[in-house]
């Protein structure tokens, strides 16, 4: 196990923010990747360096298909973050709020104190370098131990008590909303994520242990990897279709040509509609009975 890997309790929460499915916790991301072959796409930049968008970090955005697979298999649940925040902060009691504010104040105080200490140390260092030590060291010493010596030496140098009196808590902007809020319990009433029509193919490939990444740059729905995407090149460019969907043969030629060029195979697949499903009009719903999916790979023969 990697250092610092803490086990994740299931089901874990997937945050839904503005219609996107996001994971914010590194441990959860690692867990999803290891246990359930879910890669997602990193979308986070450093806030003050947003031009740097080559290497992205947390949060991890999941495709709706990935979120749905996790929810359907009971490994995760969806949390609508805007609703959760509104409810959580509105329902917070006065004591809770005060204790949170107090905790924030303490944190701010800590930061200020450390800042002052650092500044003093720096100035002391600078003075020492200039060689003005004899008189200043005394002050420095008392200043350095000021906090402990204060009670025993009420008539100490004036500089130290003044700085302590001036000390004000730094204002801390909380970066997470989950210390103040408590994670909401799994809400089963929340509907499953809306997925495109290529979902059955995704579910099928996922059930076979393949890793998938979005394949828009290859003009397909998913690029399919036989193992972790960091270890393997993708083997297939998969496009999901409805079983009865009409498509142009030119698309197959184009897809086959494209995939062949990048040493992959073009894959098309769809959910086979059984007779009764067609009759009852039951769609792709995530029920227990899952219609079989058939997939076809297309390669350039070059005879």
């Amino acid at each position: 196990m990697a250092p610092g890997f803490t086990p994740v309790s299931e089901p874990f929460a997937i945050s839904r923010v503005a219609g996107r499915y996001l994971l914010f916790d590194v441990d959860v991301m690692m867990h999803a990747r290891r246990a359930y072959n879910i890669c997602g796409v990193h979308v986070g930049t450093v806030p003050n360096l947003s031009q740097q968008n080559v290497f992205l970090g947390i949060p991890l955005e999941l495709q709706p298909e990935e979120a749905r697979v996790l929810v359907e298999q009971g490994h995760a649940y969806i949390v609508d973050e805007s609703e959760a925040h509104r409810k959580g902060f509105m329902q917070m009691s006065r004591e809770e709020r005060l204790s949170f504010l107090k905790a924030m104040d303490e944190q701010g105080m800590d930061i200020s104190r450390k800042a002052v200490e650092r500044a003093e140390e720096r100035s002391g260092q600078a003075l020492r370098n200039k060689g003005i030590e004899s008189k200043e060291t005394v002050v420095k010493e008392t200043a350095g131990e000021g906090n402990e010596l204060f009670d025993s030496k009420p008539t100490g140098p004036t500089a130290t008590p003044v700085s302590v009196k001036k000390l004000e808590p730094t204002y801390v902007t909380p970066t997470t909303s989950y210390p103040p809020l408590t994670p909401s319990p799994p809400d089963t009433s929340f509907s499953l994520p809306d997925v495109p029509k290529s979902y059955p193919l995704f579910r099928y490939l996922h059930s076979r242990g393949y890793f998938t990444m979005p394949g828009i740059r290859f003009g397909c729905h998913y690029s399919v990897y036989p193992g972790d995407t960091l270890r393997f090149h993708s083997h297939y460019l998969a496009t999901g279709m409805d079983w009865d969907e009409e498509f142009e043969l030119l698309d197959v030629i184009g897809g086959g040509r494209l995939a062949n060029r990048v040493k992959k195979a073009y894959l098309i697949g769809g959910e086979e509609k059984s007779e009764e499903q067609v009759d009852t009009g039951k769609g792709v719903g995530g029920g227990a009975d899952v219609a079989p999916v058939r997939a076809f790979s297309i390669e350039w023969a070059g005879l």
Binding site: F218, G219, D251, G254, R257, L258, G302
Partner: protein, 450 residues
């Protein structure tokens, strides 16, 4: 310094001397190899851009009075007896099974190919030269066709890959030897035979646990190739037998219609009856419908009773509009199925340049007629919509082949064939359509910095 300068010169002289002496020593061996087959002069062969005769006036040279006389003579002779631009009307017939127009006369085939690159040989990739290939195979002729060139290139590439795999294998062998897993004398083949390692077809070695060592595909491939060549060798190749040309020229419906309607150099017959362009358009439109061939097999004659009205966005009409548009602008337009697009545009022709543009036809329904009715609006929106994946796929395929993707939108007019007239006034129909071209290119900052 002087010696330094002098040395390379001497070396060069020596090397030149050896180079000169070598061909002299084994002249009989290397001379026929070095003799390269001269490429045909395509400028001469394809001098005419269209299968028509033109009679330009002689050049006017101001200081040469004879040129004025020549111009006068040709003007007078042309006014007395106007020379015909249509010396030959090529004959062709419509084949509903293949949805194409077949030309079987060898002279017409050559003429149509050489003058404007029309059609495709039924047994060749594009230029009809099955006969040349066959002659070469039987050792009669030494002309290399483009198919053979491609084959040779592929074979070369395969050899390169085999060699690369061999080099990789040797590196692995070296590594294994270093690690002490292999005794220095044993060859890697022995290990593979013993089953210690498995070898993938590409020459990579895997240490096996459960899998049997894989047989290399190159061996099986070679076996197949040798078997095929054996069976081919059983054919008694009679060198001096006259080979019958089994190839014909296939014209697409749009090409045939252009030759017929615009140039008037082609006569298309259906069931041995010549069809006029005014009726031909209906025939072609009916056959370009999906699954039309089964219901409209050739026995069904073009009778006035069961006329199907031509939809304004009929596939043939849309393709023909675009074909006509680019052909009229001087491009050589050829089908682009192999690149997953509708047309490829060549500057002058495939013998001269690679295709510059790949054309994809998209119907556009911006006429108010199409948005009047909600049902109609929904149907037309469905027809004109494409998804991003489609566009990315298409663009990437074209970029790989170094072509520029051109999206051609054809504005579809309201229906014009509701009463189903037997003869269609084609020029009136064509006027209704409008064509918009859009070039689609991926723009990347680093590659487009000049």
């Amino acid at each position: 310094m002087a010696s330094r300068v002098g040395n390379p010169k001497a070396e060069a002289q020596v090397s030149e001397g050896t180079a000169k002496s070598q061909p002299n020593s084994n002249n009989a061996d290397s001379a026929p190899k070095k003799q390269r087959v001269k490429r045909p002069n395509y400028n001469e062969i394809h001098a005419k851009p269209l299968p028509l005769e033109v009679y330009p006036l002689p050049t006017f040279i101001p200081h040469n009075p004879i040129s004025i006389v020549r111009i006068a003579v040709s003007l007078i002779s042309h006014s007395i007896r106007r020379p015909s631009s249509h010396l030959v009307i090529h004959k062709a017939y419509f084949s509903p099974e293949t949805q194409s127009i077949h030309v079987t006369d060898p002279k017409s085939i050559r003429a149509l190919w050489e003058q404007g690159f029309w059609g495709k040989g039924s047994l060749s990739r594009s230029e009809p030269h099955w006969l040349d290939q066959e002659k070469r195979r039987r050792g009669l002729d030494a002309v290399q066709t483009s198919e053979e060139y491609t084959r040779g290139r592929r074979e070369e590439r395969r050899q390169m890959k085999l060699e690369r795999a061999k080099a990789q294998r040797e590196a692995i062998e070296e590594q294994l030897r270093k690690e002490g897993k292999v005794v220095s004398e044993t060859q890697i083949e022995d290990l593979v035979d013993e089953g210690l390692f498995a070898e993938s077809p590409k020459g990579t070695l895997y240490s096996t646990d459960s899998d049997k060592p894989l047989a290399s595909t190159t061996e099986t491939e070679n076996a197949i190739i040798s078997a095929v060549s054996k069976s081919a060798g059983q054919n008694p190749l009679v060198p001096d037998a006259v080979i019958e040309d089994q190839e014909h020229l296939q014209l697409t419906l749009e090409e045939a219609f252009f030759l017929c309607y615009v140039l008037g150099v082609l006569e298309v017959s259906n069931n041995h009856v010549a069809v006029q362009p005014t009726e031909l358009i209906r025939l072609f439109c009916q056959h370009s419908l999906f699954l039309a061939t089964e219901t409209l097999r050739s026995p069904v004659p073009l009778s006035q009773d069961d006329v199907v009205a031509i939809a304004p966005d009929n596939a043939f009409v849309l393709k023909y509009i675009v074909f006509h548009h680019f052909r009229s602008l001087g491009w050589v337009v050829r089908p682009g199925t192999k690149f997953g697009c509708d047309y490829l545009l060549y500057l002058r022709g495939p013998a001269f340049h690679h295709a510059e543009f790949a054309v994809m036809i998209l119907p556009a329904y911006s006429h108010p007629y199409w948005s009047e009715d909600p049902v109609r609006a929904a149907a037309s929106r469905k027809k004109e919509n494409r998804d991003w994946w489609w566009l990315h796929r298409l663009n990437r395929v074209q970029t790989q082949a170094r072509k520029t993707l051109m999206l051609v939108h054809v504005e579809v007019p309201p229906p014009w064939d509701e009463n189903g007239a037997k003869r269609i006034d084609i020029s009136k129909v064509l006027v209704n359509y409008h064509v918009r071209e859009t070039i689609w290119k991926r723009w990347s900052m680093n590659r487009n910095r000049d």
